[in-house]
Amino acid sequence: MIVAEQKPIQEIKAMIADHQKVLVVGCATCVTVCMAGGEKEVGIIASCLRMALRIDGKEPQMIEDCIQRQCEWEFVDTLKDKVDGVDAVLSSACGVGVQALAERFPNKPVYPALNTSFMGMPKEHGLWVENCRGCGNCGLGRFGGICPIARCSKGLLNGPCGGSQNGKCEVSKEMDCGWQLIYERLKRLDQLEKLEEILPPKDWSTDRDKGQRRMYRGDVYYEQTV
């Protein structure tokens, strides 16, 4: 899932300070699970902003809502009437959701309430970790199901660097060395021979290097004819 965290209230306040009526919209998918931008967090953000702006002598009106997913038109479209009635929209979704609202409502300013951080999972309650960089060319089958791109600080492909100490990365004592995890996992699976193959430099052409990525599937894509 997408993991995000709330921006500081003062930063959000500065963005919306010039608007009187603001729609605060949450997203009930990833950012609800990472407790950053769901229905509950929308209430907290709106309450904080109301107070912060009133202290500054403004009279803001905050309308609160939360839709199932901000990254799909069918849900975004349900907001139309509410968006029409406000001066600006504050989205507590990931960057994808914010941009979906901006695209659907081109005449309305849309601001982000969150910083979108990474693709990851809740390792423990309240602790999220990045596990995938979305490089577009998955090699998890070769690395025992542990990604060296996301979990080795250097993204090395042929084993650990000298900064691996007692299973931890030199970047932080709290961070496991991704390559130590890969080694242990392959050893347990009796697949250590996979490490004997030397990998050439990774082909990053499937990553972001060619600009915005698009994916097309002919069997489900219907070209707009109208």
Binding site: I9, Q10, K40, I44, S47, C48, R50, M51, A52, I55
Partner: protein, 146 residues
Amino acid sequence: MSEQFEPEIVAFCCHYCAYGAADLAGSMRLNYPANVKIIKLPCTGKVDIIYLLKAFEDGADGVFVVGCLEGNCHFTDGNIKAKRRVARAKKLLDEIGLGGERLDMFNMSASMGPKFAEVAREMTERIKGLCPNPLREKMKNEGGGR
């Protein structure tokens, strides 16, 4: 000015401890400031950040949460959860500009009536040392609430 300022303080009290302690304080004829308005909860684990924020938004000058002694929660760890939420709400209040010192959490058992009275006095004195909640002042001037 500050001598005449009578703060409105909201106390979120756990049914199993603080509410009993407040009751005991009354039975013991202990004086504590009338500024404190008590809201009974089944456990401080019921305290949500939005409850604390709404209290301030609706004009409270100070808020405190009183739960069981740590390790003695009737629901195992409701008071620990409340402690963490109060800590986050304090940070938010600092960010908003109201000040996190307007909010605090205390722990006591149902037999600690004098402690409840002491906490009520401490919070009242602390809030009297601050300015009134600016949101309440605005409400008064406008003759209404949110």
